[in-house]
């Protein structure tokens, strides 16, 4: 008669059709102790629950607690922790040795000093399904390959293509464009754009809007630029003036 209890998961112990002595008799530690006594003794020995008395150790023989934590998961050092707030917060409060901070503050992990800087990795953390992780990577995967964009120029019958990945800044990009199309852009200013130049470098972003090259931070430009166009000064009037 008792087996069906498991199928419907009784909500409280009082629903179990067990003999009333079952709780105390199942006490592993000492069959004469009641459950309540067990609880009391645990509470009383709050500071002594380190099992030293029974010589059961918390780790492999010969290991201490630090090593045990290290055995449990592998951590590689992070190189993205540029914010010093993170390292002080976590380091001062953290009890475990697993947290890493800027490379210069690590003293105890000699074996990791020579490891190439990489992100900290804990297996299965944060708790995100691999299905979700894999599907989010798609977007990132695209940018690993190369960022080719078409470049057109007013009055020129041909299109060119360049790989934006090669350039680290606007000045590099503009110099290349100037060379490629044998033109000059003049000085860029935030307020005036390329006012006075015969040719103006512009780009179309993801929303279909045409912008002046240089209007937004480089990172944002890289992720939103769809194609480039070198417009005539007159064509570009109105761009960048808000």
């Amino acid at each position: 008669m008792s087996y069906h209890l498991f199928l419907h998961q009784p909500t409280t112990p009082s629903n179990l059709i067990y003999s009333s002595s079952s709780f105390s008799s199942i006490s592993i530690l000492n069959s004469t102790n009641s459950y309540q006594e067990m609880e009391n003794s645990l509470v009383n020995h709050e500071t002594e629950l380190n099992l030293k008395a029974t010589e059961l150790r918390l780790g492999l023989p010969g290991c201490d607690e630090v090593n045990k934590l290290q055995c449990n998961f592998s951590i590689l050092r992070s190189n993205k922790r540029s914010s010093s707030e993170i390292s002080t917060e976590v380091d001062s409060m953290s009890k475990s040795k697993l947290n890493t901070s800027n490379g210069s503050e690590i003293t105890s992990h000699d074996d990791q000093d020579n490891a190439p800087p990489s992100k900290a990795q804990i297996v299965g953390w944060p708790p995100i399904r691999s299905y979700r992780k894999n599907n989010l990577q798609q977007k990132k995967g695209e940018s690993e390959v190369g960022m080719y964009v078409k470049v057109s120029m007013a009055g020129a019958p041909y299109l060119r293509k360049i790989d934006l990945k090669f350039y680290k800044s606007y000045s590099e990009l503009l110099k290349v464009l100037e060379n490629m199309f044998k033109c000059t852009f003049g000085e860029y200013s935030e307020r005036e754009g390329y006012n006075g130049s015969e040719f103006v470098p512009t780009y179309e972003d993801k929303d279909g809007d045409w912008m002046l090259i240089g209007d937004v931070p480089w990172e944002m430009f890289m992720s939103s630029c769809k194609r480039l166009r070198i417009m005539k000064g007159s064509e570009a009037k109105g761009l960048g003036c808000f």
């Binding site: 069906h4 498991f6 419907h8 629903n15 179990l16 099992l51 993205k80």
Partner: protein
């Protein structure tokens, strides 16, 4: 006493009772109620496929029509359960193929399903209607071919988040022309293209279709023609939501297609979004009750523009691109919101992100009186925010907070987050599910044990100081069914002192903790109704001293005894045939008596 109630009357009464919880209660009243109930139960839910054998289930419930089975432990979702652990459904299908030919519905979660299982389902159950495989694996599109060819009455085929070996997109063609009963199709997990013309034809001839979740391989410009075949759709998962370049005619045909779907209430998909196509959704936003943008890499402003038009939203899943400002907009627009999930866009990035903080979460709680279920990934939290949430929203039932960096304290006070979570369990008396994170001491477990009386599932990681923490939870949480713990300093004492508790729970998972092999053996020996499984990929635990901690431990109650399908890295404790084991156990037991 029940002789005065004819059996037929009781049968009729019981036929109105659907919930398994209620039926379980009914079956406890008396022997005759037990008999009447079991002969009429059609729907079975088995939370752990190893808790009971298929034969036992079939024998008790001969009128079985619908079965739900769960296999691997929840932490398998995060790669903590090694491949090959188990959860095979084949023995269940085999047994039911013989004894339950009228079976109509199979719903599985985290199980291994082979093509043979699918083929067996396809040919054994003539009236088969529903196949739901959530987070399953082990099968290919060949198995789907068998289902499509043979299941004439199939209403639902749902492969949500399963891993399918995608051999060919032509499996869809195996639905015969005479097949018209499809109501729900979810193929969002498939990697490759499906045969689009077969799909379109299928949609066209199934007038009852309500749910369609496409995979990312379905191009956006095909979506309007697909939708025109099934304008009666209630739930849609788009494929990829962009084209290489923005085409105004794609946008206008999308607008027409969406406007034609007058019943559409739920949207998901949105892989690779091109924001210029989002306005296509504006005409239907006011009807939306569920919106899943958790794969959409779009900026906060675009999200806000969309959500601002969805006043009837009950459920919102989104990436942290929404930022605090976006969540404030949600708080202002979505007054009926019940469930919110915010996922991290870049989980491995450790930099503090000031755009999505605890402030966004608090604002949603402040603005949405019906919010009861939350999953929130962020990088900072404070006790003040958690206490505020607890007091604003005592009707919270599911609260899962994941602060990305383990051991992160309250960023304002640098204290542990014990009091914040303590406030949550104290005020939210109906809390059923809780996931903890951040810097936590034993204190938080004391609060949980004291207050979380309705708590059924608790997930713990990188928390606590000692066995006391585990003891508080096991001894205090009366309704606890599932407990999963990783990387906490919990060891033998609390586990052994609360052994009896484990029989009242579905399961306990502990990995990277401090439970010794000796304690596992002892537990397995003393508790025959528990399966105590040690998972250790570094070799047999016998080859190390008993005091060594086990890698992973999975304990679950079972009336089926130890399972027989374990891989080489899983050992069940308490196998009586081992004499040496008994001697070891006696030694450890003696040590524990001295405490």
């Amino acid at each position: 006493m029940d002789h005065s109630f004819p059996q037929k009357v009781l049968e009729h009464l019981f036929s109105f009772i659907d919930s398994n919880k209620d039926r379980n209660a009914i079956s406890l009243v008396s022997k005759s109620w037990y008999e009447i109930e079991r002969r009429s139960r059609k729907k079975i839910f088995i939370g752990n496929c190893y808790a009971v054998s298929p034969t036992t289930v079939i024998k008790r419930f001969p009128e079985l029509r619908s079965i739900t089975l769960k296999g691997k432990p929840h932490f398998a979702d995060f790669n903590l359960v090694p491949d090959g652990w188990g959860g095979y459904v084949y023995t269940w299908i085999e047994a039911m193929a013989v004894s339950v030919p009228l079976l109509e519905e199979i719903r599985l979660k985290r199980m291994v399903v082979t093509d043979e299982s699918l083929e067996l389902i396809a040919k054994s159950f003539k009236n088969f209607k529903v196949l739901v495989l959530i987070s399953c694996e082990g099968f290919s599109t060949d198995g789907l071919e068998a289902i499509a060819s043979n299941c004439r009455n199939l209403k639902e085929l749902n492969l949500q988040e399963s891993e399918v070996e995608d051999l060919s997109g032509d499996w869809l063609c195996y639905f015969p022309d005479s097949y018209t009963s499809l109501v729900s199709l979810n193929i969002s997990c498939l990697n490759n293209e499906v045969n689009l013309s077969a799909l379109e034809a299928l949609l066209g001839r199934c007038p009852n279709l309500q749910t369609l979740c496409l995979n990312h391989a379905v191009p956006l410009d095909k979506l309007p023609s697909l939708l025109s075949q099934c304008p009666q759709l209630v739930e849609l998962g788009t494929g990829v939501y962009s084209t290489e370049e923005m085409h105004p005619d794609v946008l206008s045909s999308l607008i027409t297609a969406f406007s034609g779907c007058k019943q559409l209430k739920s949207l998901s998909g949105f892989w690779n979004v091109l924001p210029s196509y989002l306005p296509a959704l504006y005409p239907i936003c006011s009807r939306l009750t569920s919106l899943n943008l958790s794969y959409a890499i779009i900026q906060s402003s675009d999200i806000v523009k969309l959500i601002g038009q969805c006043p009837n939203l009950l459920r919102l899943w989104v990436l942290d691109y929404i930022e605090d400002v976006g969540l404030e907009a949600v708080a202002a627009s979505c007054k009926d919101l019940q469930e919110l999930r915010v996922f991290p866009s870049d989980p491995s990035c450790l930099e503090l992100n000031n755009a999505l903080t605890e402030r966004g979460l608090v604002s949603v709680f402040k603005g949405c009186p019906k919010l009861q279920s939350v999953l929130y990934f962020c990088r900072q939290m404070s006790n003040a925010a958690l206490s505020a949430i607890a007091q604003i929203r005592p009707n919270l039932t599911r609260f899962r907070l994941c602060i990305l960096e383990p051991h992160t304290p309250d960023y304002l006070t640098l204290q542990p987050l014990d009091s914040g979570f303590g406030a949550i369990v104290e005020h939210c008396k109906d809390l059923q599910r809780l996931s903890l994170s951040g810097l936590l001491t034993d204190r938080v477990f004391e609060y949980i044990g004291t207050h979380a009386k309705k708590l059924e599932m608790l997930s713990v990681a990188f928390a606590g100081d000692s066995d006391l923490g585990l003891h508080y939870v096991l001894s205090g949480c009366e309704n606890l069914r599932k407990l999963e713990i990783r990387d906490c300093p919990f060891g033998d004492e609390a586990l052994l002192a609360n052994a009896a508790k484990l029989e009242t729970m579905r399961s306990l998972w502990m990995s990277s903790c401090s439970v010794s092999y000796g304690a596992c053996k002892l537990l397995g020996q003393k508790m025959p109704k528990l399966n105590v499984e040690v998972i250790d990929e570094s070799g047999p635990p016998d080859s190390r001293p008993d005091s060594c901690p086990v890698e992973k431990l999975y304990i679950y109650r079972s009336i089926a005894g130890p399972r027989l399908d374990m891989p080489g890295f899983v050992w069940t404790m308490g196998d009586d045939s081992s004499r040496k084991l008994e001697l070891d156990v006696a030694g450890v037991e003696a040590q524990f008596r001295n405490l």
